[in-house]
């Protein structure tokens, strides 16, 4: 995917090639590359960018008291990425965002992000839609975490997970599904026909 396609896809119905908001987005989203295992946002630091992912998989996580990474979510080709609260409020991040595979991302700074909605207030609708979708996703995940068995969580995840995620180390997926890597591995083996 290239920058143009990524912008047009994410702002479908809100911007069109050649119009002023499109030009603004194309000017102020810059490409950043990260090595695999590189931290894109460090805990304790301030998130500098809001991203769309051109290529690669990233995980957002916290570190538990026992020093384990606890994965809260992933971003991948075509999706948004970043640490939203740290970015919006410019406060130290409580989360780490790490590139799990070599990543290319389009990022915009907070000043340009704020200016975007001042100059093009129609795009606020896009932002509301984006936040709505996040809310819906978080709610669904919370219900899954609180009510489903490990096997059911695994099944629900496989149904909606993008193929890119199946290439990252299993321990990240296991952590995201709140299960031991061994449990994840067993469930994956039992359902191996799904991956063939």
């Amino acid at each position: 995917m290239n920058a143009q396609e990524l912008i047009l896809q994410n702002f479908k119905g809100y911007v069109q090639e050649g119009d002023a908001p499109y030009e603004y987005l194309m000017t102020h989203f810059c490409e950043y590359t990260y090595d695999s295992r590189q931290l894109i946002v460090e805990g304790g630091a301030i998130a500098r960018h809001f991203y769309f992912v051109l290529e690669g998989v990233q995980a957002i996580y916290v570190i538990s008291r026992t020093g384990e990474k606890v994965v809260l979510g992933f971003s991948f080709d075509g999706s948004v990425s970043g640490v939203y609260d740290s970015f919006i409020y410019q406060k130290p991040s409580a989360y780490f965002l790490e590139a799990l595979t070599p990543s290319r991302m389009l990022g915009i700074s907070i000043d340009r992000f704020n200016e975007l909605f001042e100059r093009f207030p129609d795009l606020l609708k896009w932002r509301v839609t984006f936040v709505d979708a996040i809310m819906e996703g978080r709610g669904r995940r919370e219900v899954e975490m609180l009510t489903l068995s490990a096997a059911e969580r695994y099944e629900a995840f496989v149904k909606r997970c993008p193929p890119e995620l199946l290439t990252i180390p299993q321990k990240y997926l296991a952590s995201y599904l709140h299960m031991k890597p061994e449990t994840f591995s067993r469930l994956r083996k039992n359902a191996s026909s799904l991956f063939s």
């Binding site: 090595d35 695999s36 295992r37 590189q38 931290l39 460090e42 805990g43 304790g44 630091a45 570190i63 008291r65 026992t66 020093g67 384990e68 990474k69 130290p92 780490f96």
Partner: protein, 178 residues
């Protein structure tokens, strides 16, 4: 709380921000000497002196370590008995600095002006960068010298933890001064 390189980086950012925010305090408050001990500025200068000693040691140890993108320094990194003890002794407990100790002679600050803060920011960024680099290195078995004596060597991750524990002790000292 078990440390990993990531949590150490997080702590380092927090401590760095604490020091940076001090710059907004009035100059006389920063240079005011208590009856006994150092002014705020002198404490920061002391932290700089510590970085000046440790940063080259970290640099050397990390540069010589083999690159390994797969290996991950988790919470169970190698620790030496003395390293563990030193980190424990350094960390302030309940906002109190336990086991008060006298600094080694060469760490005595001279108490200069405000470039102390710029120097600190510079060292801090180098320190953070070294933690980042360490994340993609295989550090197992690698020890580095400390300022605690010729024979005292720490594993690299525990030395990061030690330097930060030392820093947090002095942050507490600053809080007590303000």
């Amino acid at each position: 709380m078990k440390a990993t390189l990531e949590t150490l980086l997080q702590q380092s950012h927090e401590y760095g921000r604490f020091i940076e925010n001090l710059k907004a305090s009035p100059a006389e408050q920063l240079s005011k000497k208590p009856k006994k001990g150092w002014s705020v500025l002198e404490v920061v200068e002391h932290l700089n002196a510590v970085y000046a000693i440790y940063l080259p040691n970290f640099e050397k140890a990390i540069a010589n370590a083999p690159t390994n993108k797969e290996s991950e320094v988790g919470a169970n990194y190698q620790r030496s008995v003395l390293g563990r003890l030193s980190v424990f002794a350094m960390k302030p407990k309940k906002q109190k600095r336990q086991f008060k100790m006298k600094t080694f002679d060469f760490f005595e600050p001279s108490g200069k002006g405000e470039e102390v803060f710029d120097q600190f920011a510079d060292y801090k960024e180098k320190f953070n960068e070294l933690i980042r680099q360490a994340r993609s290195k295989d550090l197992s078995g690698i020890k580095m010298p400390t300022a605690l004596g010729e024979k005292v060597k720490f594993y690299v991750p525990e030395c990061f933890e030690f330097v930060l524990a030392h820093e947090s002790r002095h942050l507490q000292q600053i809080r007590d001064l303000l």
